[in-house]
Subunit: 338 residues, 2 copies
């Protein structure tokens, strides 16, 4: 296998090949050692490559498949009935050692279920978690779990802390990322029972535990990693998406109020664009499914080629950092040495 | 008792009387039927009233107290050792029927513990909840619990739904507010066990249950009320505070980048001010402690007189709508008729 080989679920996402193929070509330009296997309908893929004058790209291979997992298909149905889907075959390529990682913009539930079924979880990990980097005032915060596990045990939260620490190492090169445990700061009660026990476990691990953090610490950048269960993480993430959307709309409405404010808006365009770019969710696209015997990156289903390329970049960084080996090593340190 | 009588914990908050007294005077101007009892150090209160030329205001009474609950004091200590505190006496006035409501910017934990101890919870309510109105794209969303109860039962979530419905009635005059249950939308798992059972309970109540909502629905305004446990609610709230702060900072940084962007910023000032005003947290100040035998409003500890006045306005609306009677009636409907 070449140094960076990524299987792309070319058919996944709201748009499919019209997003995944241009993004792949862009990624190949940026990463000279990258090899891509485009998994999906051969006819469509070949036609699109040709339209981009890339039909004989030396670092592209095509793996032909006959099925597609639908965006609203149940995980059970995808597992049972879609054994020749672009999603399933892309994951199989990771299992078979033909690719170092797989990137898909397909249905989250089906991708998680298929990845678990095909790749299996690492020894010491109960269930995989979904992790993502969010912008903060200083850089990025790695947050997990973002929705794979609604009810978590304290032990699972420790496992998330281990994986989040290794993921941050992969993306930021920090040697000892700080870990924060998401909690509430009410004077009367300090968190629920699971979080209290998890704090005890993480404190006694080899990780760099900062302690409890609150919701606002995610964007302050108080710690490198923020650990929480998937219920809380998903709600926090979606809530911020909702707020960002509303703030964007309010700002736009205020500039559109009358001809004078419209003029002010036109004058301020360069600044507003720079502001928008800084928070562009496409630049943070690419969630990591952690805890599996292989790298699986989930792209937002509705992103464009610009965003999908960031998901591929996430996969490249995780390959280069040997994240799976690092997580395995850290799990050994935590669960056998201690 | 006059038609709107509010006991103000004049000493509470980071600043104390210099915020609570100007805010009270402003509220008295806005509400001609409002009577205020300023609870706290008589010398300080009289001096401040004099400095505002309001020493003989016909609708102000002073209740002299000798103690103050500190902002970092434990609820236990406040309960035990601060029986003559401005906070405690303000709540006592509600219990004794001398005030319809109490407003405090003091220590949240102490206020909740004291309010529960003095006023007791309503029949049918296990524990009080903290509710607040948040801005959404159409108006406001009433969200609860925001941090009083970290671990909740499905029955408690139903109680929150009842109280949130009545609070929304009080503030918006909507007759049948829609209730959303905060959940996650992952394809693989739909929420934790408590939420699943709560959905069943609320569906079978007399409330206008919309169904599950996700984090982004809070700011979309999908439902009038969003119900969740205090752990999730507090984290969602704090997370949005953190994001709003970061976005504000990024916007300001982009306008300060060089002389040209600074100029653009000066030109856009009126629009930016209008935008800021729309999301000004002071305008949403005033969280309701629901489920008690009396109205207790918690103001943000760090707010100014402009913000504290909004907390007083919240109390006025709740008095006018007879919220306690409405909650009691609805609890009877839910728990005895059915």
């Amino acid at each position: 296998m070449t140094s960076q080989s990524i299987a792309i679920d070319a058919m996944g996402g709201d748009v499919g090949p019209n997003v995944t193929i241009p993004a792949s070509l862009d990624a190949l330009k940026r990463y000279p050692k990258l090899h891509i296997i485009l998994v999906g309908n051969q006819v469509i893929i070949e036609a699109l490559l040709k339209s981009h004058n890339a039909e004989n790209h030396p670092r592209i291979a095509i793996k032909s498949t006959t099925q597609v997992v639908l965006m609203d298909e149940s995980p059970q149905s995808a597992l049972k009935n879609k054994k020749d889907s672009s999603m399933r075959i892309a994951i199989n390529l990771v299992k078979d050692g033909e690719a170092h990682a797989c990137v898909s913009a397909g249905n989250t539930g089906a991708l998680m279920a298929t990845a678990r079924f095909v790749l299996k979880t690492l020894k010491g990990i109960d269930r995989p978690a979904i992790a993502s980097n969010l912008p903060n005032q200083k850089g990025t915060t790695c947050m997990l779990d973002l929705g794979a596990n609604a009810d978590c045990t304290p032990e699972q939260l420790l496992q998330f802390a281990i994986m989040g620490s290794m993921l941050t190492k992969a993306h930021t090169k920090k040697k000892k990322p700080t870990i924060g445990l998401l909690n509430i700061g009410s004077e009367e009660i300090k968190g629920n029972e699971v979080v209290k026990q998890a704090a005890h476990l993480i404190k006694n691990s080899h990780l760099n535990f900062y302690g409890n953090v609150e919701g606002n610490d995610i964007f302050k950048g108080t710690t490198d990693v923020v650990v929480c269960d998937g219920f809380v993480g998903n709600i926090a993430l979606k809530t911020t998406e909702g707020l960002a959307q509303m703030m964007g709309r309010f700002l736009s409405e205020e500039f559109k109020r009358n001809w004078l404010t419209k003029l002010m808006g036109i004058i301020a365009i360069p600044v507003l664009k720079a502001f928008k770019r800084r928070l562009d969710p496409r630049r943070y696209n690419g969630a990591s499914f952690l805890g599996l015997n292989g790298i699986v990156i989930k792209s937002h289903g509705g992103t464009d080629a610009y965003g999908f390329r960031y998901a591929i970049a996430t996969a490249v960084e995780e390959i280069d950092s040997k994240i799976i080996e690092n997580i395995k090593k850290q799990l050994e340190v935590e669960f056998s040495v201690k």
